[in-house]
Subunit: 416 residues, 2 copies
């Protein structure tokens, strides 16, 4: 039995506790949705002011050079790189995750189409339970190419080995599942895909800044991810794409805009890709949103991913144990794996009235979110979540469930 | 002969003079580059503060609904629509101009491919002098489709009629040329394209907020444009795409991300496009940059495009006359058409030392920009440029040219 006193003791002994001071969080709220939108670094307010007043207002057009706007995608990419095991010059922060997935998948298809022994492969494998935009983008490419490619949707992650037949060109998976929180063994799955002659794309939306990732050690082929969740880059902030050095010379993608050109200002009438990672870019980037990402990344300079991961698992272990202890009679079903090696940084429970219960939790100051069908998600962001908050959240959940304090016919609104 | 006194009198009589008060501009600078990056509306600082503090910091994930983030692309699109003659529900602000051009061109190609009599057409016509990213994006699509499409680059705008043969599927033109400032007759050219059985895409990067545009009256097919130039939306702010109601049901584009889905939160495993303009979207948008665009659009509520256009032409007429009068001996060549109907809102002069002269102008506080080859651009943004500034800019140019005060071997840096 863990007590509230135990949780307070855990906080007192937490070597990361002071990092919460880097963030602005509203009073009276327990925020367990950093897996959807990370909290605001305090530094972001000052940075926004500088970007608007000194850089845009005073520097005007000159700021593309003098304030380094033009280099932001690659400079911030280099700053993000160590968090996912990428090398310098291998990451740019640009566009949306969806657009970057399109580039990565298009490039992977092309690499295979140019391969002497794999040119005929026509299957792209992913999970039915992938975040939908990944599936939609793949459908978009397939329909457009109209060259016989098909998307094979796995109904369960353990179908993967059997699905790796000799027609598979690309495997595209979300490392940590957005709904269940289940995490793939990146090195093992990548090796399986490669053994079958397929290329491996990872979506790190729920991984970057949340779990330890080593893309280079895993020998992955391409990766994309998001900066507005665990990296605290700001609402809808531009996403990232990783192209390892070994694939850069052959990386070709159809969104060949001027920011991907070898000499964007030479105004040539023919596209020639930039030599390095910039060929993964496309058009001009939204500087205000892009610049704020640095404030989120700066916080990661203060701590190791190993330390964050330890606290993340401690928080989610505690949450799971407390929910089972205090709310065990209410038909909650744990969706997230118990094994640490298979768990990301959020925990999901399904409940037949999950939507209504989550609405009630939010009304009582505990912000998690809801995903169809029936799934309540609780994100644990070790940069700013305390053990006492986990205790408090479970007590609120218990009270709501004990008292039936939720409207089961509540109209469903959109929650991103 | 126009005197400085005349210019002061023009300012005193200018009914739009007070609009400059809406913008923050550095002291001692004459800013003639609003055609590249618009000045900062004063309101943007307050708006950024609200987005960061109240919406992101306090509202957190709930702000997707409570602060209206999710609807920003279409709400701001509706606000922009009247400036380009678009209808309600026909514009979204999203992604970059390059990405939007890709969507529009892909959709146009598909429409033609599904047309009973035009399915075999394989030529896409544009100008060699289009802004390069438009050409590059077309090259990207063509190479990817690999179905025999070719890009025909016109060497001069007057080659268009002859180029409209019966293999042309799509004509894609920049309404106001980024380098020369030359403006096409949108209704006439659109009619010519239609008569030849082609679809017509307009890039309004240098038109929106600068000249009067009526897309619906011209019966254009698709349009894209930029918000960070004359619309003063902020550096690299998301771009817009226009899909007229008559094409929306058949609008299909390969970047089919979740924000384009009919029910993005139903988490379905198959893409079904949204009914209206949202199908032109793709992924999650950068909210901080997106929200600031509204501050730029709000200024246009205070004035008509007709009044802005009158002042724009008066400013550029004055500039051309003063340059010819005061700098006529220095080999400057006017690149921009004199006819009002063929002129946008910037004026370009070529000079064999154009790059060096522009660097010297900037060093002396007159900010224009330079475009290869030899072209000095001067943008006239009637929201905040005065007649006296035009006078002062020409006097500075005259002094630089008279005294040879420029380094002709100056290293060339990148200027966006």
């Amino acid at each position: 039995m863990t007590t509230q006193h135990d949780c307070l003791a855990l906080d007192a002994a937490d070597p990361l506790a002071a990092l919460r001071g880097q963030f602005s969080l509203p009073a009276g709220i327990t925020y367990l949705d950093g897996n959807s939108l990370g909290a605001r670094p305090k530094a972001a307010l000052r940075r926004a002011h500088d970007v608007l007043e000194a850089e845009w207002g005073d520097g005007l057009i000159c700021s593309w050079n003098t304030a380094g706007w033009y280099d932001l995608p690659s400079r911030l990419g280099d700053k993000l790189a160590p968090l996912v095991g990428a090398g310098k010059g291998e990451v740019v922060i640009t566009d949306s995750t969806s657009v970057n997935l399109f580039k990565a998948l298009a490039a992977a298809i092309k690499l295979q189409a140019n391969h002497p022994e794999r040119a005929q492969r026509r299957t792209i494998v992913t999970e039915r339970d992938s975040f939908p935009t990944d599936i939609y983008m793949a459908q978009g490419i397939i329909e457009w190419l109209d060259r016989g490619y098909t998307l094979q949707l796995l109904d369960s992650w353990d179908q993967l080995p059997a699905a790796l037949h000799d027609d598979v060109a690309v495997v595209m998976l979300t490392h940590v599942n957005y709904r269940t929180g289940r995490m793939f063994d990146m090195p093992a799955v990548t090796a399986q895909a490669h053994e079958a002659g397929a290329l491996m794309i990872w979506d790190l939306a729920h991984s970057a800044g949340a779990v330890e990732v080593d893309l280079r050690a895993a020998q992955a082929d391409f990766a994309v991810g998001c900066t507005y969740k665990y990296l605290n880059g700001g609402p809808g902030a531009p996403a990232f794409i990783w192209v390892p050095e070994r694939h850069q010379a052959d990386f070709s993608q159809p969104l060949s805009g001027w920011w991907a050109h070898r000499q964007p200002f030479a105004m040539q009438a023919s596209f020639v890709p930039a030599a390095g990672i910039r060929r993964a870019m496309c058009g001009t980037q939204p500087i205000a949103s892009l610049a704020l990402i640095e404030c989120g990344l700066d916080v990661f300079d203060l701590v190791t991913m190993a330390a964050l991961r330890r606290k993340s698992l401690a928080l989610s272990d505690l949450f799971i144990a407390l929910v089972e202890e205090h709310c065990g009679a209410h038909g909650l079903e744990l969706v997230t794996p118990l094994a640490h090696a298979e768990r990301g940084s959020h925990v999901s429970f399904s409940h037949r009235h999950g939507y209504a219960v989550m609405q009630s939790l939010i009304a009582h100051g505990v912000i998690g979110d809801y995903r169809e069908p029936h799934v309540m998600r609780f994100g644990f962001t070790p940069l700013y979540t305390s053990y006492s908050e986990v205790w408090g959240a479970v007590q609120t959940l218990k009270r709501i469930l004990d008292e039936g304090d939720y409207q089961i016919d509540a109209a469903r609104g959109a929650v991103t």
